[in-house]
Amino acid sequence: MDLQTITYLVVGATFAVYIGIAFWARARTTGDFYIAGGGVHPIANGMATGADWMSAASFISMAGLIAFMGYDASVYLMGWTGGYVLLAMLLAPYLRKFGKFTVPEFIGDRYYSQTARIVAVICLIVASITYVIGQMKGIGVAFGRFLEVPYDVGLYIGMGIVFFYAVLGGMKGITYTQIAQYVVLIFAYTIPAIFISLQLTGNPLPQLGLGSTMADGSGMHMLDKLNGTLTDLGFADYTSQKGSTLNIALLTMSLMIGTAGLPHVIVRFFTVPKVRDARASAGWALVFIAILYTTAPAVGAMARLNLTNTIQVAEVGSPEGNLVYEERPSWFKNWEKTGLLKFEDKNGDGRIQYYDDKNKDFAAKAEAYGWKGNEMVKVDRDIMVLANPEIANLPNWVIALVAAGGLAAALSTAAGLLLAISSAISHDLLKGVFVKDINEKNELMASRIAMGGAIAVAGYLGLNPPGFAAQVVALAFGLAAASLFPALMMGIFNKKMNRHGAVAGMLVGLVSTLVYIFVYKGWFFIPDTNNLPNNAANWVFGIQPEAFGAVGAILNFATAYVVSKVTAAPPEHIQHLVEDIRVPRGAGTATGH
């Protein structure tokens, strides 16, 4: 069977399963819709959280970033896992005890203020919708590449499927579908990694393979070999730190705090039966995430080695050292068609030279070899995971499985984000503020309409991508870190925190982070409206805009503390509420009242 047919079969079969599950687990009450009826087992919930959390960015992009950045890409690995420690210890058990449906609902009740609730809704919608656009784009690209349909057709198919199971099933349908999606995506990620690790090192576990010796009989360690191969071509050493320490630390911190502050993840811990389960569930979620996250470094390093060795076939500098362009493998040709991989024969020798032509120390050597610049003029980082099985000559069914896995990752995250948006609109804005006497049936209808609306908006923005997917994902994390996380944490850990402090803190965190990003990236991301060029020389203390969320969070904490000291303490019953959520006993099922 050819690749096309197998891809249709595998992707079609997985989708049939998702839709079947959504139909079986359809929501009948608002409790089912928002929090899956509150009866999800912690391990099942952990698995669903894993699928919810791991988006197209984790599945498709991350290993590619690691492949080309080496050690410096550790910020993503640590940032997107370390946040669960904060979540498990600082937020999840207490928010579960509080027992409501949404994050803004907690902020509104704890700070006895509709203003605080509305500010939280705004932070939530901005952060979630920017994040969901990236997922929609990922869905369009993945369908487009593997089903060979145009990008926009792929996007419409994806929108239709998300609409069907998210709107029908609500949290209940989403949770059970996400468990199936987790299984698909983790197999799709680890199977090619195991094959490649076996080929290169003889060790089937990629986590150990990366630290093993090469299977080619040289006795060299895989990472030493990679370092040597790269430095011979003028590239930077793979395993050492290249960026500034302060910037790396702050970016890691922003991603960690952002992880703990993103509402679609927090709301996951409202679905378990007990406070005790909320703590364990965060641990299970991280176990399921760690399976992919500890495999990714091996995928990245091995893909880089395979790619480099495919082009540099023999000794560097020897006349036959480089691959003849006409003899390039078929995966090379396939990706050239997408425009994501480009070759340009600069010295006219018909062979491919792939090296770092920006490294001044290497320039003299390259000149002596007769090289006239790096001829791999474009190697898009995002193709590495998808191209990896082809580079390693794995069977067609593995390649088809990777396609299904990428789609599962993008769809599951999109569904979770859409649910967070729709519940903020129907539950917090309509029921909480504007139409307080709305009945359950109408609220359920309103949340389904809101979700449909959110899919349409995200789809429209995905059709006309403003061209800033990477920036908006960073913005989503920065915003959540600087606005929601401090307000939630202080609401639990500081009994005296009052509404003035919380609102002032959220606004200072949100606005300072937005301004810092816009100064370097352009106001509202409109090109050429930035005040300063976006490079390390112009950043304050070398802090890149993506890393500013941690600074925004510190400003938020400081402002809230000072303002709360000079204004009236919160009322007695609020202080009792805080004392009550600190103790597990007495947690009922979450309600919306």
């Binding site: 210890m89 600082l90 630290g211 395993t239 050492s240 730190q241 703590r279 600190r582």
Partner: protein, 86 residues
């Protein structure tokens, strides 16, 4: 011991445990994996430079272990102070 005192003591014990866990979280995630990565890379763990291993493998394993450690200690504290569910 009154109910309020008991709750206050339970909370103190929780915060102490939390600070211990966060100190480990910070030490592994920031000190070993970022600040000291250069010197640690000269030591090797199998075929891994140690600093690189902490940043791309060890820190993630530590995070998982920390959460389960915290959860199990909290379950004990819940019972010890008689604030556990059901």
């Amino acid at each position: 011991m009154s109910l309020n005192e008991k709750a206050a003591q339970y909370w103190q014990a929780n915060v102490r445990l939390l600070l211990l866990c966060l100190a480990i979280w910070f030490f592994v995630g920031y000190v070993l994996s970022i600040l000291l990565v250069g010197p640690l890379n000269s030591i090797s763990l199998g075929g891994y430079p140690l600093g690189f291993w902490f940043a791309q493998q060890g820190s993630i394993y530590t995070f998982v272990a920390l959460i389960f450690f915290y959860a199990s200690r909290m379950n004990k504290l819940d019972r010890q102070f008689d604030v556990h569910e059901d």
